[in-house]
């Protein structure tokens, strides 16, 4: 790896004299209550980070159990309905309690006010409320799990969820309803903050792309989530009172559920991936020392993804008896979403071109993102084309596709972001070589897990079954082996990041020599972020500005 060559931009203060700033948001107040009742966006971000990590590992444990069952063709580890509960819990926890809030609620919460030059989000109390709602939602999900689980799949498909199952559907639906409001409040807070709290001189086109992508994702949260909420209310009512709105026997249409559900849940995919794309923009720019190529195009592509995201949901329903003509329209529109996504990938590639690239851990994760997201996105185009979809949908091909986007894309971006901003959040560096090892392990483990699943799906292995014909075993064993490696890759960061809290090198204000406003203040920041409100007098990603500033600082001190 390149660190051996000494090619790095990391510049840490002299470790013998450096220390963590005396006053910062972490030690500003003491005691558990000062955390639980805080209005500080940075502390809420940390609370979110802890709770999200907790749920990530629970969801991950279920993934491990699923892969363990699929190690052999016979149904030998668990019974069929237990297996159904496993993948349902894996889906619900990972989608609603990890992926949706992952980057926005942790990194977004921490960074958006600082990047805009504001002291806090517009509504600190609503921000805290959002975390508590998340906890209630998470608690109810665990409650549904402990009481005996739920086996609808994370999609709650009717009439399965309303008529044929006797598990804790209502508890799980309530959990998602509540977690949904947590996400609405986060999005609402971000939109208002971005519109109303920008510091003087911070125009729309001077905002970091991280903020742009969060803006787009927030629009989706605010506009999409309530439709999911009402849909889940209808499912609960259908179960409780048998009201018939999704019951064909009483004249209802089960597909109406699917329309309403996917009206949220397809945009939700973009809620999950857009913030990750924002992280990648920051990381790529910093570690290639160049302004993001085509800044405006990347900014607008975020908004375009958000807009187009609302016009494609029916591609989840192509084989379910929707109209052919409508499917044709939705298939064409689905192809359109590929355009803004491709704009981003191409622009990142052009940012790298002729940049002074260095290979610190966040950059490794970002490279992982670019490759895996491209594969995930392109297989999405296969699935969006009507003919291919009939063959591939409901097989492991689709499982591999969305895991490439969500795990290969979003999780890589999340880890890139956590590593990138870890020195800012804690004031300490993570151990560089160990983290590089973790990044590489994750990448290898990921590909080993999910590439075989593309082949399995293409060969026709259906998803959501706990047993399969013996000829698929080789590929399944590969996949399970990969999952083990992947698990190690995810355990490592948790361990060494915890270790670095006490023993990591002091990071100083700007270890990466990055240009964002967040890097110009102390690490960890003050509770009020800025001693005086900054005035933004340069474009985002202006490395010359940073160079001049650094020079001037040296002369003043000298």
């Amino acid at each position: 790896m390149s660190a051996a060559i000494g090619n790095t931009i990391v510049s840490l203060p002299d470790q013998s004299t450096a220390q963590i700033p005396k006053r910062n948001y972490i030690n500003n107040e003491h005691g558990l209550l000062s955390w639980l009742l805080t209005g500080d966006h940075k502390r809420i971000a940390i609370l979110y980070l802890i709770s999200i990590t907790f749920f990530f590992f629970i969801g991950g444990a279920f993934a491990g159990l699923i892969r363990l069952e699929l190690l052999t063709p016979q149904p030998d580890l668990v019974a069929a309905d237990t297996y159904n509960k496993f993948f349902t819990m894996h889906g619900i926890i990972m989608v609603f309690l990890f992926l949706v809030p992952s980057v926005p609620a942790t990194l977004g919460n921490f960074l958006i006010p600082i990047m805009l030059g504001a002291k806090d989000l517009a509504f600190p109390k609503i921000n805290l409320l959002s975390w508590y709602l998340y906890l209630v939602g998470g608690g109810l999900t665990l409650g549904a799990l402990v009481l005996g689980g739920v086996d609808t799949g994370w999609t709650f498909t009717t009439p399965l969820s309303t008529h044929y199952l006797n598990t804790h559907v209502i508890t799980a639906a309530t959990a998602i309803f509540i977690a949904g409001f947590s996400s609405i409040f986060t999005g609402l807070n971000f939109i208002v903050t971005i519109h109303r709290m920008r510091c003087p001189g911070m125009t729309w086109f001077r905002m970091p792309l991280f903020v742009w992508s969060h803006y787009a994702a927030s629009l989706l949260m605010v506009l999409g989530t309530p439709v999911l909420a009402i849909t889940l209310v209808l499912v609960a009512l259908e179960r409780l009172f048998g009201i018939g709105v999704f019951d064909p026997a009483k004249g209802g249409d089960p597909l109406l559920f699917q329309h309403l559900f996917w009206f949220y849940s397809h945009p939700a995919v973009y809620i999950m991936i857009l913030p990750g794309m924002g992280v990648i923009s920051e990381v790529i720019s910093t570690f290639s020392r160049k302004r993001v190529f085509g800044y405006t195009a990347v900014a607008f592509s975020s908004v375009a993804i958000a807009l187009f995201g609302f016009f494609v949901w029916e591609h989840h329903m192509f084989i379910m008896g929707v109209s052919n003509y409508s499917a044709l329209v939705f298939s064409l529109l689905t192809m359109l979403v590929a355009v803004p996504s491709a704009i981003k990938i191409f622009n990142w590639a052009f940012t790298l071109q002729k940049g002074s690239i260095t290979f610190e851990t966040p950059m490794l994760y970002a490279f992982g993102f670019m490759g895996l997201f491209t594969i995930g996105g392109l297989t999405g185009v296969f699935l969006g084309s009507l003919g291919m979809d009939i063959h591939l949908t409901e097989t492991y091909f689709i499982v591999a596709h969305f895991h490439f986007v969500m795990v290969g894309g979003m999780l890589m971006a999340f880890l890139a972001g956590v590593h990138f901003w870890w020195p800012k959040m804690t004031g300490r560096m993570y151990p560089e070589s160990l983290s590089k090892l973790a990044a590489v392990t994750t990448f290898i483990g990921f590909n080993l897990t999910f590439l075989p699943q593309f082949i399995l799906g293409y060969l026709g292995m259906p998803r959501r079954y706990h047993a399969y014909p013996p000829e698929f075993q080789v590929l399944n064993v590969l996949s399970t082996a990969g999952a083990t490696v992947l698990g190690v890759g995810y355990m490592l960061p948790m361990l060494y990041l915890a270790w670095s809290l006490k023993y990591g090198a002091i990071a100083g204000n700007n270890p990466w020599q990055a240009t964002g406003l967040e890097w110009q203040i102390q690490s960890p920041p003050l509770t009020e972020n800025f001693i005086e409100i900054p005035i933004m007098d340069h474009e985002a990603y202006d490395y010359e500005w940073l160079e001049n500033k650094t020079k001037n600082e040296v002369t003043t001190v000298g």
Binding site: M202, F263, E314, S323, I533
Partner: protein, 116 residues
């Protein structure tokens, strides 16, 4: 996008940009006019329902409801005096509602057309 024109640093917290509107107070007299209009159109909508106008019945009922909603939004909710940002926010809500309806209807309307 007109936002980037206003870049001067002497604009604390972006208050003079186009997202900002002067605070406007609507008088009770205006409210009374709105109130009277709403009552009048409630009467009309009930009356119109008892006349057989075939397909025009639901159109009229919805038209009147939309009209009433618009004047409530404009005057009771002060949207007429708000910044362009608020107006666009309201517009985007209804736009997305229309997207939900029309895009879903593409399925329901053409489902019975059968195969190619």
């Amino acid at each position: 996008m007109a936002h980037e024109i206003h870049t001067d640093a002497n604009d604390p917290s972006n208050v003079t940009n186009p997202e900002h509107a002067q605070h406007h107070i609507v008088t009770p007299l205006q409210y009374t006019y709105v109130f009277a209009t709403l009552l009048l159109f409630t009467g009309i909508t009930v009356g119109a329902a008892y006349v057989d106008l075939d397909w025009a019945n639901p159109v009229i009922a919805l038209g009147i409801a939309c009209f009433k909603a618009v004047i409530v939004i404009l005057f009771f909710m002060h949207a007429a005096y708000q910044s362009r940002l608020i107006k666009m926010t309201i517009g985007s809500g209804f736009f997305l509602f229309i997207v939900l309806i029309t895009m879903t209807l593409t399925d329901y309307i053409s489902r019975a057309w059968g195969m190619w």
